[in-house]
Amino acid sequence: MNQAFSAGCATGPTIRERGQHEVFCGLTSIIWLHRKVQDAFFLIVGSRTCAHLMQSAAGVMIFSEPRFATAIMEERDLAGMADMHDELDGVVDKLLARRPDIKMLVLVGSCPSEVIKFDLSKAAERLNRVHAPKHRVLCYSGSGIETTFTQGEDNFLTALVNEAPASGPQNETKLIVAGCLPDVVEDQFTRLFDDLGIEGVQFLPGRSSAAMPSIGPGTRFILAQPYLGAAAAALQSRGAERINSIFPLGEQGTTAWFKAIADTFGVPEDRFEAATAAPRKRAKAALQSFLPWLEGRRMFFFPDSQLEPSLARFLHSETGAEIIEVGSPYLHREHAAGELGLLPPGTAVSEGQDVDLQIDRARKADPDLIVCGMGLANPFEAEGRLTKWSIEFAFTPIQGYEQAGDLAELFVRPLRRQSVLKSGLGFEEGAPCS
């Protein structure tokens, strides 16, 4: 599990808050995980609330039979009238009969299953005895009392790492890129690794349960996402060494990230230059046109995905925006240090949340754009403020050179929309609403 540390860096003192957190729990990352690993199935052991959360967050996918489901605990399970392990076995049997194609079944713990201390590892072990190797069974916790949003992925990757095969000398994994990336980004990165002459690169997670990387003492890894504290620790415990870098967001972030890798693998400077010159130029060109929209704009981040420090750094360094507050559900001191170090001294950083107080601060600061979750965005808009859904940064390809412009555009769109509508509809702050 991730742990929270103070980010001891150039930014101002970290505001640590433990009031109401207005964030998703770790179950939510199943929404992209189940699409990334196409032969996996995620079975939440939880309550009707878990099922309802998944459906509310992933509503648009309702027309498919998804590769996730909830085993909903009922009164008789809790009252001890039914042995929950037997019940779970029954649910899994039913599921596998219906979906025999599942290669990897992932049991996911939830708040209620954690509170009653239902032992998922025991269940996974038992089910593996019955169903492996046809259906591997894994488990991790996505509960909201332990994880926030992207930390669900952290725990899933940790589970994968813990049971990954050892990397042997005949087929050695030289580099693991850890953290879910959209396929299009993975493919771009793969081409760049080819151009840099770096071989033996694997992505974690792989696109199928069979494509998971092996890990050995010769393995280096680099994080593609900032929220992987536990997974990084697990990789290190398997002997892999972390390459430190800021994250591949924006032209500068991507260059720093590739440079850290290139340096690790001894790629000559001119080769690095040759491989990255064209995409760097493209990224800069793409960013150029968005700068007038962003330069000097005042930005306020509510906590969501732990991407916030990286996004703030990108906005500050590459677009000239001013950062009012960087909220993040957790700050991994070591992994976030590079990003926070690039923010101007004194930038307010907050960890955890007391949503009411944070709303007060946001109103007082009156920023040009508030990056926040869907529960807060429309109420802010109704006050005449501009917002950007933070969740889009988790679902849109934003990493790498070719997406640098797209990343900027995500921030620009609400500003541009405002400028169009303002003239057409002539609305004022506090526009009337129904």
Partner: protein, 520 residues
Amino acid sequence: MQLSMWTYEGPPHVGAMRVAASMKDVHYVLHAPQGDTYADLLFTMIERRDSRPPVTYTTFQARDLGASTADIFKTACHDAVDRFKPRALLVGASCTAELLQDDPGGLAKTLDLDIPVVPLELPSYQKKETWGAAETFYQLVRACASNRRRPETIAANTCNILGPTSLGFRNRDDVREIKVLLEENGLNVRVVAPLGASPEDLARLPEAAFNIVLYPEIADTAARWLKKAYGMPYLSTVPIGVSETRRFVAEARALAGLESVPSPSENKDRLTWYSRSIDSTYLTGKRVFIFGDATHAIAAARIAANELGFEVCGLGTYMREFARDVRAAAKDYGLEALITDDHLVVEDAIIEARPELVLGTQMERHIAKRLRVPCAVISSPVHVQDFPARYSPQMGFEGANVIFDSWVHPLMMGLEEHLLSMFRDDFEFNDGATASHLHAHSPAAASNQHTAPAGISVEDQITLPASATLWTDEAEKELKKIPFFVRGKARRNTESFATDNGIHPITVETLYDAKAHFAR
């Protein structure tokens, strides 16, 4: 333990939130972990609510388990009352907190708050969203309206409207329609609750002559209590459809001691004429499958059968609490009601019933979409589409107009798709043909794609799996010549005829024998 992909209802505390979010000056302190805050977006996104719902979550964490969660709850109550200054406070637990047994009601009592505190006991592992809303409304009404004095003289024409809630299917517009309808009929609507009401309004409920239960699923419990406590009669005819709207008006007038006359807004009814006008003749006998909450499903079946001339081929609900009503309604159509909250069972039932139109929830809309059967949404659970910008009631005369359009439009669009499919043998729709304008300009591959959807028709989609092998080639070819708008029925009837008579395979003769047999 129940395996669930998608659900028709959320947990009961979401029902409580809907009631809290419906009202003014009510706040809900919910003992719950951080993930449960997702429920806010139901209101801010689906309903495009312009303020946060009045809910404070304790968002306790693993490290708080043990002694401190109760303290967190108390702090949250204090802070919420300070910040939001509600006139009544709801307190309760979500599924996780229920397991902690912190007793929110008891804890809240210790705080000596100077407003009514309503503790909610909503068993998360037994009950669901709608029940939670009904229970919450009932508890709130009891808390606010207990021990009031019912005035000695009450104007006979005064009434309250009970049941409309936030996130209710078209409740926003139903209330507007029905208020106008009642008022033009000489009734005086005092309180609408919970939607838009304050705790003080609830206290005024006993001051009206009678109650109107617009949504029985939500308001039945409260209305029964008001009857018991104050002898207030209530009306629970649901004014969906032209005939039920008329009945509703007649009954409301009777309760108010007014004589029976037609409503002034009868002239807004277009359903009656549109359904009668000759272009609607093709609606006659269309097979309709209906699934939703009990009230809307029963009303939809009645309108479908009596006002549009459809044949109801399936009727069901996900609300076990109202299963009896739906079972009784289904009998009227010679059907066994489908009572389930498993959408996969509903999907199987739809495939089995081979409807030409599906009326259901967003879930059934997506099932129908996969099956390429026309569909309209008639019930919660709601989606952002169910909160249109325009005025779109389901109730009253304009509601009936809206229903006519909403149900017939998908059929018309389906007809268009079918006409396209009828044209597929024409050479301008043939693959690779260069005859038509479009084809002349597009690559052949693209023209293939143009015609692809035309090749799909309902009867091909919802054919039983084995049926493909039941037919001789010649019979299958002959079937294709039958006009598209009866082909689905022809296939269905022929297969059932063949099964009943032990005929295998189906020949051209069988096809026509079955046609003659089923002629009616």
